[in-house]
């Protein structure tokens, strides 16, 4: 066993080929993480340019065509290349099998194939940039999208291919959760991260084919003028919107559900407390996944869809607020009488509660028919979705990356820098996007390269905010890279967490994850049943919570508990 400990998934074979052809879910996860971060960097730099252009009215650094292309590519990158794969394909790939006590996902070869499909799709999308002008926003509304240059064909093909990748990943995860759980890991002992990835996978499998066929139809319409969407050919542009949102609304839950999972892990671990209302939190993910299919029409209140459908969609939209609220409130009550440690990941979890709630409430506001008529396609919407996507998913992702960094890389990052950066992200983020709520409700339309002088003050604030935000993110990139070179070696369980990747895998996991099959005997957050973990090792040496890999989890001791 001793010699086995020195072998880990990174060093057992270092050749390039062993990475490119790997079937190891951990390596695939890392490769996704790299690709996603690169795309995030590119999308973020475009965002900074967009903000710079909006610093003053009229032309600041670029003309209208350049601007229109910038926000289109910014959004396509952020949505399809970053956010949809980000948590499930990167962190999910790495940690889902570990948390299940499995050796790998159900179909490792398919997993690698999905990764290459994803890369291919991303490359096709980006090649559109070389082919020519690509504007119209990430929604590609017909008929505009059929009148712009041929580069739109690349974007639709790319999105189609990435959609395929997303479907296969989802399918793989569903089967993995059903069939690969280790003995003792019953459904009500699943870590909440697993529950959320599972619900996400359901949405991926059920919604993505529709964007697939939409993209095929758009493609054929461009090529053969088949007249499905273009009114000049007898088609219906509103039908396109229905198709698009039938996928893209559920897709926002593909983006946020995994984030909920991370937040549950973080709050449970750093409060050292059972996540309150476990069953409610787990099942609300499933509820959100299903309700998410029934509300797409709330993007179309002024599109010319029938008034009756608008009313129904509006009603269903609010219902989604309820399971989400159940989650938020349970996270807060988890902290009640916990033992809360403010490590960097926990700070991100708290920021998430703040920013995501604002985003969620603004979502409910625009779900109200009478109000959305005024707010639709203004910066209020831009603020809403950045609060949920950047303030929700990206913040959770950052929390997750910090939390699992030691397990992925075997190194600790600098905690002080981590906290400073988190606080700067918080300040920069709110400064960037809060003013957008105000100017949006005052009438500032989105996708505007130029604006009336009365909006300048808010735009300035927003641009300054984006600089702070950008600086903080670059800072994170910096100290994370530095930790790879000179970071402290991580113990196998630095946070004292109870899920299998921490308790049963080495600091850097073995290529086959576990040396022995873990047997699960308690829930993922039952700290009171694992008390000895925190009493065995003296505190303060960074080693508390160290559990020797391969040893069975402790049996419940049955002692009465005192607070």
């Amino acid at each position: 066993m001793a010699q086995d400990e020195t072998i880990n998934y990174l060093n057992h074979d270092r050749s390039l080929k062993s990475w490119l052809l790997t079937k190891d879910h951990k390596r695939i996860g890392l490769m996704y993480l790299g690709a996603v971060s690169l795309a995030f960097l590119a999308g973020g730099i475009l965002a900074l340019l967009i903000r710079l252009e909006l610093l003053t009215p009229g032309e600041t650094i670029m003309g209208p065509d350049a601007y229109n292309q910038s926000f289109t590519i910014h959004a396509v990158l952020m949505v399809f290349v970053v956010l949809i794969p980000a948590i499930p394909a990167a962190l999910g790939n790495f940690f889902l099998p570990l948390q299940l006590g499995a050796r790998d996902v159900a179909f490792p070869r398919l997993n690698l194939f999905s990764f290459y499909l994803y890369l291919t799709g991303a490359v096709i999308v980006l090649s559109a940039l070389i082919v020519g002008r690509i504007d119209g926003g990430w929604t590609f509304y017909a008929p505009y999208s059929e009148r712009v240059g041929d580069s739109i064909l690349f974007v639709t093909t790319g999105v189609f291919v990435m959609g395929f990748s997303s479907i296969l990943t989802g399918l793989n995860f569903i089967v993995t959760v059903h069939k690969m759980r280790t003995p003792g890991l019953t459904w009500n002992r699943l870590p909440l991260f697993v529950w959320s990835i599972y619900s996400t996978a359901i949405v991926q499998v059920l919604a993505t084919p529709v964007i697939g066929i939409t993209m095929v139809l758009l493609f054929l319409e461009r090529f053969l003028s088949i007249g499905i969407f273009d009114p000049a050919l007898g088609g219906d542009p509103v039908l396109f919107q229905h198709f698009f949102w039938f996928y893209s609304h559920p897709a926002v839950y593909i983006m946020i559900l995994p984030a909920f999972g991370i937040i549950s892990e973080l709050i449970g671990t750093f409060s050292r407390h059972r996540v309150s209302g476990y069953t409610f939190v787990a099942l609300s993910s499933v509820a959100i996944a299903f309700l998410g299919f029934l509300v797409w029409g709330h993007h179309m209140f002024v599109s010319g869809q029938s008034a009756v459908s608008s009313v129904v969609f509006s009603l269903l939209t609010y219902l989604i607020g309820i399971p989400t609220g159940v989650k938020v409130l349970n996270w807060v009550t988890t902290m009640y009488r916990g033992s809360i440690s403010f490590k960097t990941p926990m700070i991100y979890a708290l920021i998430f509660l703040f920013t995501f709630s604002i985003g969620g409430f603004s979502g409910v506001m625009v779900g109200v028919l009478g109000i959305d008529i005024h707010l639709h396609d203004t910066y209020f919407i831009v603020a809403h979705f950045h609060y949920v996507m950047m303030g929700g998913t990206v913040i959770a992702m950052l929390g997750g990356i910090h939390y699992w960094w030691p397990k992925m890389t075997g190194r600790m990052y600098n905690e002080t820098l981590g906290k400073i950066a988190a606080i700067l992200v918080f300040i920069g983020f709110n400064l960037t996007f809060f003013p957008q709520f105000i100017m949006g409700s005052r009438g500032m339309p989105r996708r505007y390269y130029d604006y009336l002088p009365e909006f300048q003050f808010m735009h300035e604030l927003s641009t300054y905010g984006s600089w702070i935000l950008g600086a903080a993110l670059f800072m994170i990139l910096g100290y994370m890279m530095a930790s790879l070179i000179n970071g402290k070696k991580a113990p196998s369980n630095p946070w004292g967490a109870l899920t299998l990747e921490w308790t049963h895998a080495a600091a850097l996991p073995h290529p086959h994850n576990f040396l022995a099959t873990p047997i699960v005997v308690r829930g993922p957050y039952d700290y009171h049943l694992a008390r000895e973990m925190f009493e065995l090792v003296p505190s303060g040496d960074g080693q508390h919570g160290e559990v020797i890999p391969g040893v069975e989890a402790s049996e419940p001791d049955g002692r009465p508990e005192e607070a």
């Binding site: 000049a232 059972r274 002024v302 008034a307 609010y318 009438g443 505007y448 925190f534």
Partner: protein, 306 residues
């Protein structure tokens, strides 16, 4: 509410605006209260239950069922109130009074054209009488656009081959901003218009004097701004500058040259794709083909004066 409206919303200048605002503030304040409570609890728990000792392991709290139920029931009730209210406002926004004064609106890349019942048309300037319900019947000639007047809290997409409508009743004279809020190409951000709300008698007078004859060059100068020619040809470099082009020799992208006479100018306006100027792509919309002969003559006369 003053000239600039309240803190969050712009001035409210239509009969439905006040109701929209009341609903907006109700949801905003309710959300704020819940938000403050949630975040307040989070901060309080964070401080009160911070970890004081590395080895402490708290006992799990068994949250009572009624608490879970409260979280489900209270939001559901709130949501139902807001829904019913929002529904009422929506119905009002949606149904134009039967005696509305109707105006036809045509949207094209990148201007608005308004046609009144006596056949008068105006571009990017909409005149309406105060205190009267106005119904706009809208259609587009190329791609989607959307008609948005923040001060009236109204918005509606404008779709090719289909008529959509929107109505409002302005409560005060003044001029109000119109935006296009559906992405429609290069000059989407410049597809602006103004609503002039005037008294009934002023409106009648305006309508009556619209057919009065302007000298062609002056008419052209007006149209040049109204139909946003200036956006591409003066304000930005999307199109070539037009100063002194009449009679000059133009280099085309296929290598040939042509003298910019009246015919060439006319063709350049109604069928921009026919002869592309060297260094420029097909960015000028073809929608100007629908201008009347008189308008085209005016534009050409004006370009000659440049």
């Amino acid at each position: 509410m003053g000239e600039n409206g309240s803190g969050w919303l712009p001035e409210a200048m239509s009969t439905v605006a006040a109701e929209v605002d009341a609903l907006f503030y109700f949801t905003l304040y309710t959300s704020t209260i819940i938000f403050v409570a949630v975040i307040g609890a989070m901060i309080y728990f964070g401080i009160r239950f911070r970890r004081r000792d590395e080895s402490e392991v708290p006992t799990p709290v068994h949250e009572p069922k009624w608490l879970e139920m409260t979280w489900i029931v209270v939001p559901t009730i709130l949501v139902m109130i807001v829904f019913t209210w929002g529904f009422k406002v929506f119905v009002k926004l949606h149904t134009a009074p039967p005696d509305s004064y109707e105006i036809t609106v045509r949207a094209a890349q990148w201007y608005w054209e308004f046609e009144y019942d006596n056949g008068v048309t105006s571009a990017n300037e909409l005149y309406v009488p105060v205190g009267k319900a106005i119904k706009l019947n809208m259609s587009a000639s190329d791609v989607l656009h959307s008609f948005f007047v923040p001060a009236f809290r109204i918005k509606m997409d404008v779709i090719p081959n289909r008529v959509t409508s929107v109505w409002f009743e302005a409560t005060d004279v003044g001029t109000y901003q119109v935006f296009c809020t559906e992405y429609c190409g290069t000059s989407h951000a410049a597809m602006l218009a103004t609503v002039h709300v005037v008294t009934d008698s002023e409106f009648r007078q305006w309508l009556a004097t619209q057919n009065q004859d302007l000298p062609p060059a002056e008419l052209g100068a007006q149209l040049f701004n109204q139909y946003t020619c200036n956006v591409c040809h003066v304000d930005t470099a999307v199109g070539p500058g037009l100063t002194g082009i009449f009679g000059s020799e133009r280099k085309l992208s296929d290598g040939t040259t042509v003298i910019a006479d009246e015919d060439y100018l006319l063709e350049s306006i109604v069928d921009p794709g026919a002869k592309l100027v060297e260094g420029y792509g097909l960015q000028m919309p073809a929608t100007f083909g629908s201008l009347t002969q008189k308008q085209l003559d005016g534009l050409i006369a004006y370009i000659k004066t440049l």
